[in-house]
Subunit: 425 residues, 2 copies
């Protein structure tokens, strides 16, 4: 049985207890939220020994780091280092998006070495294998998709992005709405081009029950992909995006009826003033399923600094109810992220998640800010480092500054506002 099926039956699983303890909630409350589909606990029955986390209503906003090889940069050991870096700086999950090398083996080593949940996008391997066999993308057989999903489910993948909402209906709305950037989802563009070439409906939609069968069997949490998400602020919240969302809402309901855990993915590139409506619309349409957003990026024009742009959008999204943020690294739009990019991306995303948690008043979030501010008042640097979201860098900077041995910093020197205010000058 899935976590959701057990929760519906009134069973408080040990996973529910682990989530309840981590989040400082009563297990019974968590159980009810899982039963209603407002919280998911991604944990494949074949994935053992990792830190169980819940995603959804009332919980700390979680963050995901994407790693994995690409045809232009394939170094599996480096991806394992990225895994460790992501975990060290606070990622709650990683997604292995490998599209080069021995993909099954890379995924297995990531699952084996990860202390956090692992997600994938199975269609990537399907595409990769087609290319390797010198086939056209349109040569894909629907069974290729389901076999790959089942293979990865068996391997222990905890959640999978599946682009089930790219349908003849949703893509029809692309025709009469002008996008500057078309489709920017790899899975979405692949499914759409296969549909156009074959004239067929998306197998992940048409045979959604097969998806549910597999995900039920292994308790894989479905992450309903937004294949038509906007890739430009100009394209945000257009009819195609919303049409796909409506279909995702139907698919959430079908999954919930089967007791299959499901979350919904969201954009993408979204101007700052459209984030709140996107989240509220999604939550309403999708029965309050957990919302997993990529960024969002509130401007298109900062390549090299998209971790900052993503932190702006992610903080606003989290504050308005997004539950799960996919990180964006400084490499976005430019190249495969390096290990340093992974670190920067995770820290930026953690900042965004925390700023949201402060507003949502997630348990404990405000205490940390209070404790930090109190430490500042006391000029207590050890406590400042203790409460910092990332303590290494601030400690190093203080130590390397001319005020290393002072209780004030080198910005104001002894003309420190706190010292003046406290009469300590």
């Amino acid at each position: 049985m899935t976590q959701m099926q057990k929760a519906i039956k009134g069973i408080t699983t040990k996973e529910i207890c682990e989530v309840a303890e981590y989040e400082n909630y009563d297990p019974e409350w968590i159980r009810n939220e899982v039963a209603c589909g407002r919280i998911v606990i991604p944990k494949n029955i074949n994935h053992l020994n990792f830190n169980i986390r819940g995603i959804g209503n009332g919980l700390k906003t979680k963050i995901n780091a994407n790693i994995g090889t690409s045809p232009k940069h394939c170094n599996p050991d480096e991806e394992l280092k990225k895994l460790q870096t992501a975990i060290k700086y606070g990622a709650d999950s990683v997604m292995d998006l490998s599209t080069a090398g021995d993909i099954d083996r890379i995924l297995k080593s990531i699952i084996d070495n990860s202390s956090v949940m692992v997600g994938t996008v199975p269609v990537y391997n399907v595409m990769t294998q087609l290319i390797r066999k010198n086939k056209e993308l349109s040569d894909m057989k629907p069974d290729d998709l389901f076999l790959e999903i089942e293979k990865q489910a068996k391997m222990g993948v905890d959640f999978m992005t599946l682009h089930c909402g790219v349908t003849q209906t949703s893509i029809s709305f692309l025709e009469n709405d002008e996008r500057v950037l078309g489709i920017v989802s790899r899975g979405g563009s692949f499914i759409k081009s296969w549909m156009l070439a074959t004239g067929s409906e998306n197998p992940l939609y048409e045979q959604y029950d097969r998806v549910l069968d597999i995900c039920e069997k292994y308790d894989v949490t479905i992450s309903l992909g937004d294949g038509l998400r906007p890739g430009a602020c100009n394209d945000a919240t257009d009819r195609a995006q919303v049409a796909e969302l409506l279909i995702l809402g139907e698919l959430v309901e079908k999954a919930h009826k089967r007791g299959v855990q499901v979350m919904v993915e969201g954009p993408g590139h979204v101007p700052l003033d459209q984030i709140e409506i996107n989240i509220k619309l999604m939550k309403k349409i999708c029965n309050n399923a957990p919302f997993y957003v990529l960024g969002p990026l509130v401007t298109d024009i900062a390549p090299g600094y998209d971790h900052i742009v993503g932190a702006i959008g992610g903080a606003i999204a989290a504050a308005h109810g997004a539950d799960f943020l996919c990180y964006v690294t400084p490499a976005e739009h430019l190249c495969l992220p390096t290990i340093d990019d992974v670190r920067e991306g995770v820290i930026s995303s953690k900042i965004a998640a925390h700023c949201g948690d402060f507003v949502k008043n997630v348990k404990g979030a405000r205490n940390t800010d209070y404790n930090m501010s109190h430490a500042r008042r006391e000029l207590n640097w050890e406590n400042m480092f203790k409460y910092a979201i990332e303590p290494e860098l601030p400690r190093t900077r203080k130590q390397l500054s001319e005020s290393a041995r002072e209780n004030y910093c080198s910005m104001c020197g002894f003309l420190c506002a706190i010292k003046i205010d406290r009469g300590l000058l």
Copy 2:
């Protein structure tokens, strides 16, 4: 006559024309906004040969970079390099906050070398001179303040932070409201401790007409400092902060009646969901004077990464009507910023300003995003660099990647969503 006095008389100055051309507005519209005090054009009559910029309603959100020596790090040449770095990456103004070395000489060299407007906080030099003379801060004579303001006005400073709103009335609200971090403004803590020690009213408030006399004479734009701004999210939007704002509102009106240009400074540390109300309250209370915010920082717990925290707050503030953002660098709360910090701070702040301008639909802002997205669709990398907020880093990263000579990037390799969507695979 000041820019405002001339504007009220119907004179369209060459400075108004320069602003109108830069912002792509009709000069007559700018003149009217200056006359009403909704736009300021900081330009001291003694400061020649720099790029004139307007700040306020309808205009591009401007950004300021703080530079200057500190008692723990005094290297005037380095500050000049910071000046050039700030300008190179897009700062619209710099503030010289020097508190060490030959302060007058440093300020003069910054004014002489700056192609952007220059601001100061005159009370810093007053404090520094007291300390140098082995005096107590309470030994300050009101004339010390006015002499310093006049000296700097004569030198050509375009705008000055003056903490006129720290009054017996506003500080009285500190007593019955619990702050974790007290006062974090250097000027504010100094004025307050002087008032407590002497039992006197703040001279900048009591003799505000003297302030206006000097600022009128040299057309110095007053930047009404928020000496009681919160330095912790816990302390945001408390009674003391709002009490000071009410006084600043009265002082804005007095300045406007004299035809003296004025803007208002705002916090500080503010949770994400309090930014909008802070800006709307300020605009209402202060006759829609331009609003200059420091950050705001939406969490206290990310020392080392406060440029990211400031970008989150700054973007939201700009979107809701803030006109001028003071940058926050990665060194905030830790040490005096380095040249690298200045670069990071300016770029982060520019990103925030642009995200706000996109929402405010400032002239031209959305075109850049559109053009960037169009370049992405065309896989036209030269145009991507052309429309980037900072082109050096993205160009370098692309050139150093394994896809340096490809029209796709090394993240997806040939499995590029755009290529698939356009049938180019």
